[in-house]
């Protein structure tokens, strides 16, 4: 235990030696506030160095011990740096402030005890700081929140897309001197909010018996999401608060010099938390012509002329006056109208107020007649949602008639122009037809057009074509291959010829004439042997055949049958006698031999 304490003391000593130029202080500003008023708990780290400019390490959190009843919120950091040169020696310093707002709803003394935090790998100690919170009373000095505060008059309910104006008011007590304003910050995820105008309206108001200068800005908000939406604003101001010690005790009173040389402080002002109930527009009763307009409007439709010529434009103007979200109003859709060609409108807006919530928006449509006659411009319909009555209103204007006379423009011709000086003037012999006229022109000559066949890829015709092509290609391939082999391979050619000859000979062997039969039978055996051994044995006798048979491993039984048949043939040839029964037996014997070969 003693060893551990000794080590801790050593470590603390070593650390404090290494960062000897760092000083830490902690305080409340102001140190005394009324209940519910905001004070600032400031931890200040000052780092100095003679050799180089020190680099601050940003602190994002502090291990502040909890103090019951004191609420700490909205922490932020502030950095400043300075260089001092004394007798040619520079001293650099950098100051980092961690500023946290502290507020208590109960009176009493609140002390944040000393605590250790890590900084640049070392350990620093923030000293204790005490805040005195007192009950407010009639003769007590007003708190900061009473002297300067921010308010916004947001409505309780809005519709998605409904643009409305809200007033942001900064109340500054007459005893406070406002030195400067920082940019407005807002927490309004469910809204689009206009920028804070540079100029504000100034007025004087009495509030809770106190006199205030009021700075008023007008902001435009438009909800973009339905449901309860938070709308909070934060404004950071620099102001000089009245100093009781100076003003009350001074014989000369507070005044010019106090204001001039007084110290300004920065205050973060917040509007009270506000929630707006944002509703979606009802779907029931929504007209087809509705395009997002919310407010209250009137419509006026005019045309710049009641007569024109073909292809000469006429303008249809729609004026929408009233109050509402003019920035979201689109020109009403014009239906396609026979005889007219129209283009997208151009619009102008003339606001009647600074917020552009009131005014007149004008849409100009260009219509070009395509044919002559008494034509009607399309009926115009415009609808909007009235948030007061919570109903849709549809405005419509009757159709406007226009008399259209034929065009006076010269018709373009393709006739060749004559260049001779004394030539007769060119006469237009052809007339270009308008699109309307062309659409009235029929085709008088019925011709047989192309066949429109579906499923061509699965049609029988396609299948037959491919099958035939396949058969022809395969047959050609086989024939070519066979011809090549007959030409190049002598054995194959011999066997092929022998097979052909064998077919003829076997047929001849069916004869009942014994002489024909035996001659054909001997030839058939020789040809079959030629096919088997792939050697020409067409003129071989039995001895040669026997040798060949033995070489090609023909069974002895077959060889004996061949021998028998050849002997019978010789007997017949030399004796000339044979029985029909013997011929039948010999035919059977021949078939057996041929099968075996």
């Amino acid at each position: 235990m003693q060893l551990r304490n000794a080590f801790l003391i050593f470590a603390l000593f070593t650390t404090s030696t290494l960062i000897a130029e760092i000083r830490v202080s902690a305080r409340f500003e102001p140190a005394r506030v009324a209940v519910g008023s905001t004070s600032q708990y400031i931890v200040e780290i000052v780092e100095t160095d003679d050799s180089k400019k020190p680099a601050a390490e940003r602190i994002t959190s502090l291990p502040i011990p909890s103090e019951g009843g004191l609420t700490l919120r909205n922490g932020r950091t502030s950095n400043s740096q300075s260089t001092r040169i004394t007798n040619g020696v520079s001293e650099y310093s950098i100051t980092q402030q961690i500023i946290i707002e502290a507020v208590s709803q109960t009176a009493g003394n609140f002390t944040i005890p000393a605590y250790i935090f890590e900084y640049k790998g070392g350990r620093l100690q923030a000293p204790a700081a005490t805040l005195n919170v007192v009950e407010g009373s009639a003769d007590a000095a007003p708190t900061v929140d009473e002297l300067i505060f921010l308010q916004a008059n947001a409505p309780e309910q809005l519709y998605v897309g409904q643009t409305t104006s809200i007033l942001l008011k900064l109340y500054v007590s007459s005893s406070v001197t406002l030195r400067g304003l920082n940019p407005l910050e807002r927490r309004a995820d469910g809204f689009t909010v206009s920028e804070l105008p540079e100029e504000s309206a100034e007025s004087v108001e009495m509030f809770k018996g106190r006199r205030y200068r009021v700075y008023t800005w007008s902001l435009m908000i438009t909800p973009i999401s339905a449901g309860p939406q938070t709308l909070d604003f934060q404004l950071t101001v620099s102001a000089q608060m009245p100093d009781e010690r100076n003003t009350r005790g001074s014989q000369f009173g507070g005044g010019l010099f106090d204001n001039f040389f007084g110290r300004s402080e920065r205050f973060n002002l917040y509007t009270p938390p506000t929630q707006i109930d944002v509703r979606t527009l009802p779907t029931e009763g929504k007209p087809k012509s509705f395009s997002g307009a919310i407010g209250n409007f009137t419509m006026e439709v005019t045309s710049d002329s009641s007569s024109t010529r073909v292809e000469e434009p006429i303008m249809l103007s729609i004026k929408l006056s009233g109050s509402g979200n003019f920035d979201r109003i689109k020109g009403p859709e014009m239906p396609k109208t026979k005889g007219w060609r129209s283009y997208k409108p151009e619009f102008t807006f003339e606001p009647n107020d600074l917020q552009s919530l009131k005014g007149m928006k004008r849409f100009d449509y260009v219509f070009i007649p395509e044919k002559a006659g008494s034509l009607k411009l399309p009926e115009v319909k415009f609808s909007y949602f009235d948030p007061k009555t919570e109903k849709y209103v549809e405005l419509s204007a009757p159709t406007i008639s226009a008399e259209v006379t034929p065009s006076s423009r010269p018709v373009m011709t393709t006739a060749a122009t004559l260049t001779e000086e004394n030539s007769a003037p060119a006469i237009n012999l052809s007339k270009a037809l308008s699109p309307e006229e062309l659409l009235n022109t029929l085709d008088y000559r019925p011709r047989k057009g192309r066949q429109i066949e579906k499923n061509l890829l699965s049609s029988p015709w396609f299948n037959y074509l491919n099958s035939a092509a396949f058969v022809v290609l395969t047959a050609s391939g086989i024939l070519i291959y066979r011809g090549k082999r007959l030409h190049q391979n002598a054995e194959y050619a011999l066997a092929h010829q022998a097979k052909q000859a064998l077919k003829v000979t076997v047929k001849e062997a069916q004869s009942n004439d014994a002489a024909v039969f035996y001659r054909s039978a001997q030839d058939a055996i020789r040809l079959a042997a030629s096919v088997r051994v792939k050697r020409n044995l067409r003129s071989a006798d039995f001895a040669e055949l026997e040798v060949s048979f033995k070489q090609s491993q023909v069974t002895n039984e077959v060889i004996e049958q061949v021998r028998s048949l050849f002997n019978e043939a010789d007997n017949h040839r030399f004796s000339g006698r044979i029985h029909s029964a013997d011929l039948q037996q010999a035919r059977t014997q021949l078939n057996t031999i041929l099968k075996a070969l």
């Binding site: 659409l439 029929l442 057009g449």
Partner: protein, 246 residues
């Protein structure tokens, strides 16, 4: 004998009258043209439909499309004009009128691409025949000389080059033509709903404009699955969509 001549004369007169009556009878096409000229568009429509039942011609399709247009049914007119153009792809008048009606409907009216026009140079069947014959010829010219171990002659080389070229031209053209036959148009004059499944109660997945072209991706029962010019995809009832190859 007199009675024979009288009978013969009567027979001849009847035959002449019948011939005259037959020759004076106008075809439904001519009747449609006449009705159209008299602004009797409903009669013209019926006559052109009758003419198409007898024999489908591009002129009858075109005229029926114009009758539909006059009867304020531009979406149906678009289908008829598309079909007429399919029958006669190089009729500039048909193409102009089709684009004019499409423009009336607020649809994009651009000129056809060069490759579409090139693929329409021959009918689909001809392209298919050309592709098939080229393929087999190319195969034969490539395989058979190898089987016979003979040197390829200049004639075979020429044939092989021609077959290759024909195949290169015919396959893309065939693909474009077959793809065109897989298209159709919206025939209702209202904006049509596309559904996420082939059922009217299915959630709406998009919309198709009247007369809009669309490619058929699938079909099931009484629905086609289509992809429109506007890239919307979904199932549409066969009541409001008609394929061009119908």
């Amino acid at each position: 004998m007199n009675s024979f001549y009288r009978t013969l004369a009567l027979y001849i007169l009847t035959a002449i009258a019948a011939f005259a009556a037959t020759s004076e009878t106008e075809t439904p096409f001519q009747a449609g043209v006449e009705a159209y000229q008299n602004a009797e568009y409903e009669i013209a429509e019926a006559q052109f439909i009758a003419a198409l039942t007898l024999n489908e011609t591009a002129a009858a399709r075109h005229n029926l499309g114009l009758a539909h247009f006059q009867l304020n049914a531009p979406a149906e007119a678009v289908w008829q004009l598309e079909r007429a153009q399919l029958l006669e792809p190089f009729n500039a008048g048909y193409r102009y009128k089709l684009e004019a009606v499409r423009q009336e409907l607020g649809l994009f009216a651009g000129s056809a691409k060069w490759y579409t026009l090139a693929s329409a140079a021959l009918p689909t069947k001809t392209w298919l025949t050309l592709a098939t014959v080229s393929f087999w010829l190319l195969l034969a010219v490539s395989i058979l000389p190898r089987l016979s171990d003979t040197k390829i002659s200049i004639g075979l080389k020429t044939l092989r080059a021609i077959s290759t070229a024909a195949l290169i031209f015919s396959i893309p053209s065939l693909w474009i033509n077959l793809r065109l036959l897989q298209t159709g148009t919206i025939t209702t004059d209202q904006v049509a709903s596309l559904h996420a499944a082939p059922a009217s109660a299915a959630p709406q997945s998009g919309t198709a404009r009247p007369g809009e072209r669309a490619r058929i991706l699938d079909q099931y029962n009484h629905f086609y699955k289509i992809e429109t010019e506007g890239q919307a995809t979904g199932w549409i009832s066969k009541d409001v969509f008609r394929p061009l190859a119908d």
